[in-house]
């Protein structure tokens, strides 16, 4: 899921160029390009902004503005696993607030923070479309429903083991 820890500057630049080359010919290419960069590097680093801007004939401010608008794009890679807890109403109705409090305590981090061992980055999310099985969490593309504190703990253990 997340990026290899130590890519060289050249490798990062190559990843950005590849993402640009892959999508620049499409109408409205910026979001597909940013997604492709984040998929390759785990984030959209600040150093990618000038080359994307140049390729699309946009200002750096415009590209930065788009990156910063969307919750998904990040400027540094997350931990090995990105764990999102749903905070929306359906999950609230079945104890999401308590689950969030439990998760923060268990992991020793707040939202948008990564555990000391680099294993898990915790984020809030507003609805995963799993509202008949609340509360829900998402790890990468793996969605979990009816998450209790115990199930959350075993999920965390599982993720830490998984490397």
């Amino acid at each position: 899921m997340s990026a290899e820890p130590a890519l060289s500057a050249e490798a990062r630049e190559a990843a950005v160029s590849a993402a640009v080359a892959e999508h620049a010919g499409r109408p409205g290419p910026l979001l597909p390009i940013l997604h492709a960069i984040q998929e390759r590097l785990g984030c959209v680093p600040a150093e990618a902004v000038p080359s994307v801007a140049q390729a699309l004939n946009l200002s750096r401010a415009e590209v930065h503005g788009v990156i910063s608008f969307y919750h998904d794009f990040r400027d540094h890679p997350p931990g090995r696993h990105l764990l999102k807890i749903c905070r929306a109403e359906s999950c609230q109705a079945l104890g999401a607030d308590a689950l969030v409090a439990h998760a923060k305590k268990k992991l020793g981090v707040g939202f948008h923070e990564t555990t000391a061992d680099g294993a898990i980055t915790l984020e809030p999310v507003y609805c995963l479309g799993n509202c008949a099985l609340s509360p829900a969490v998402l790890v990468g593309e793996d969605i979990r429903g009816r998450v209790t504190a115990e199930r959350f703990d075993s999920l965390v253990d599982e993720l830490r083991m998984a490397r």
Partner: protein
């Protein structure tokens, strides 16, 4: 070969369907049983997921909720022949929750293999498009108008009227954009269609394109839906390979191409003009209207924008006729609505019913009451911008006008139930907090108002009991005034409707704000 169905729906996966599917394959191999696994969509009976179905001579029978440790017992009991077991649910179609529905849009969901074009065709798929290709564009639009179909994304604007506007333009190219940015909490019907029957959406969009002369379609899907994105891409590839999409749709000489675009986590991109900006590669900022997107939409060209459910309802309308669809429903709400039961309910899931069913029937007859066993106290209908309704309003029928009549809205048909432990002041605060997090920032009432709203509600909640009374009332009045400004001064529905949950909490649950009903009377609506 015995066909066994285990859903690939992400809800089913979230409670272990993948492990069950693997376990069935292993157990069947060990027993040398000839089993074909089909990964279907979900029937929408989520409390029974993972729900496994077996095709027997007498029809499909269901077992659920199945966990891997149950599998040896199921095999031993003869579940492959549909024999009894502790988890047996009988014939799937006879489960009351399902039997009492009117599944038009969801006719195939849970029944077919979602990405099998052959399965789709064998279950009445692509009959609507074939018929549409024999009709002039205006006749297709008329049929959609006649059906009474209204926008299922929440705004309930007549679909046919929107199409007619695009048909009347002469620009080239024109676009069809499907709004699959299903961000409302308590809603998942779009996701279920895209994961469970993606071809019906593809067919609906193709019909829309053929009707108005649009050649390119985009499905703008939220990034929180990776499984739906995968299913759509598989289905688009299959439809393209078979000539249902591409330069010459079914050798009609008409072009229609389709592409999936993934959002990046922004609730506001469910607002149609913000979605267009996002598709164009910009910040998801709401546009001023006019011009209407139907006249100047994506890349400045005429664009049909419809929700997933609206577009997925078009094939059956074209196949069976506008009257067939219109004959369901009540008043000006025609056809069916896929209603999503969520939150604190025993039987959460999807209920597609003709308009007219009451909230109470949905909550108790289908939903089975609260999952926690406590009394239901408040129900939010229509997502985070929808009103909270008290028990006294549970007899309201599912009908656009009936909901407008009680200062509420049906929206996308999501119903989130709360039991009596809910703190409505906290819910009101959350509504404003959510608006502050997701505001695009273009208009002041939404950008600033939402933050001031959070502060105002915090003051109401934290005012010390000793000085309660005037200060509390004054602050409630302040938040009400703020709501009034947001309602009337915001550019789009985010700021314009975020006050609904707040005001409904004040009006129906004053005790949660430390006030009596009398103290609140007369202060705005």
């Amino acid at each position: 070969m015995i066909r066994v169905f285990v859903p690939r729906d992400s809800g089913a996966l979230s409670v272990g369907a993948e492990a069950v599917a693997r376990g069935i394959a292993l157990e069947a191999a060990a027993r040398a049983a000839a089993v074909t696994l089909v990964r279907n969509g979900s029937r929408g009976l989520y409390w029974l997921e993972p729900m496994v179905e077996v095709e027997t001579r007498g029809g499909r029978v269901a077992y659920g909720p199945v966990t891997p440790p149950d599998l040896p017992g199921l095999f031993a009991a003869g579940f492959l022949e549909g024999k009894p077991h502790r988890l047996a649910l009988g014939a799937t179609e006879e489960i009351p929750y399902l039997r009492r529905q009117e599944r038009l849009t969801f006719a195939r969901v849970g029944i077919t293999d979602p990405v099998s074009l052959g399965d789709y065709e064998a279950h009445e798929g692509y009959r609507g498009l074939r018929r549409a290709l024999t009709m002039p564009g205006a006749a297709i639009v008329d049929m959609v108008t006649q059906s009474g179909l209204r926008g299922r994304g929440g705004a309930a604007f007549p679909t046919g009227i929107k199409w007619k506007t695009v048909l009347g333009t002469t620009a080239d190219p024109k676009y069809v954009v499907c709004n699959a940015d299903e961000g409302d909490s308590g809603t998942f019907s779009d996701r279920m269609i895209m994961e469970g029957d993606p071809f019906v959406l593809i067919e609906g969009m193709t019909i829309a394109g053929i009707a108005v002369g649009a050649t390119q379609g985009y499905i703008y899907i939220r990034s929180e839906y990776p499984h739906a994105t995968r299913a759509l891409n598989e289905a688009i590839a299959a439809a393209t390979a078979a000539g249902y999409l591409g330069p010459d749709v079914l050798e009609s000489g008409k072009r229609f191409d389709l592409e999936v675009r993934v959002g990046a986590g922004a609730y506001i991109c469910g607002e149609e003009t913000a979605m267009l900006e996002s598709l164009e590669g910009k910040r998801g900022m709401v546009r001023y209207k006019p011009p209407l997107p139907a006249i100047a939409g994506l890349f400045g060209k005429p664009t049909i924008i419809n929700n997933v459910i609206s577009l997925a309802s078009v094939p059956i309308i074209l196949d069976k006729g506008g009257e067939y669809y219109r004959d369901y429903g009540m008043g000006r709400s025609r056809g069916t609505l896929p209603i999503q039961l969520a939150g604190n309910l025993k039987h959460g899931g999807l209920v597609e019913k003709a308009f007219g069913v009451t909230l109470r029937e949905l909550l108790y007859d289908y939903g089975g009451g609260s999952r926690t066993g406590r009394p239901l106290r408040a129900v939010q209908v229509g997502g985070p911008l929808g009103a909270y309704l008290p028990e006294s309003q549970f007899d309201t029928p599912i009908d656009y006008e009936a909901f407008t009549g009680i200062s509420a809205m049906l929206g996308h048909g999501g119903i989130v139930a709360f039991d009596d432990t809910v703190d409505m002041a906290a819910q009101a605060r959350y509504a404003m907090e959510f608006c502050a997090i997701e505001s695009c920032g273009k208009c002041t009432p939404c950008r600033i108002g939402s933050t001031r709203g959070v502060e105002g509600i915090d003051r109401v909640r934290t005012i010390d009991k000793i000085v309660a009374g005037r200060d509390r009332e004054a602050n409630v009045q302040l938040v009400r005034d703020l709501c009034d400004t947001m309602l009337h001064g915001s550019l789009c529905a985010l700021g314009g409707m975020a006050p609904f949950p707040v005001l409904s909490a004040f009006n129906h649950f004053p005790e949660d704000f430390g006030l009596t009903a009398g103290a609140l009377a007369g202060a705005g609506r």
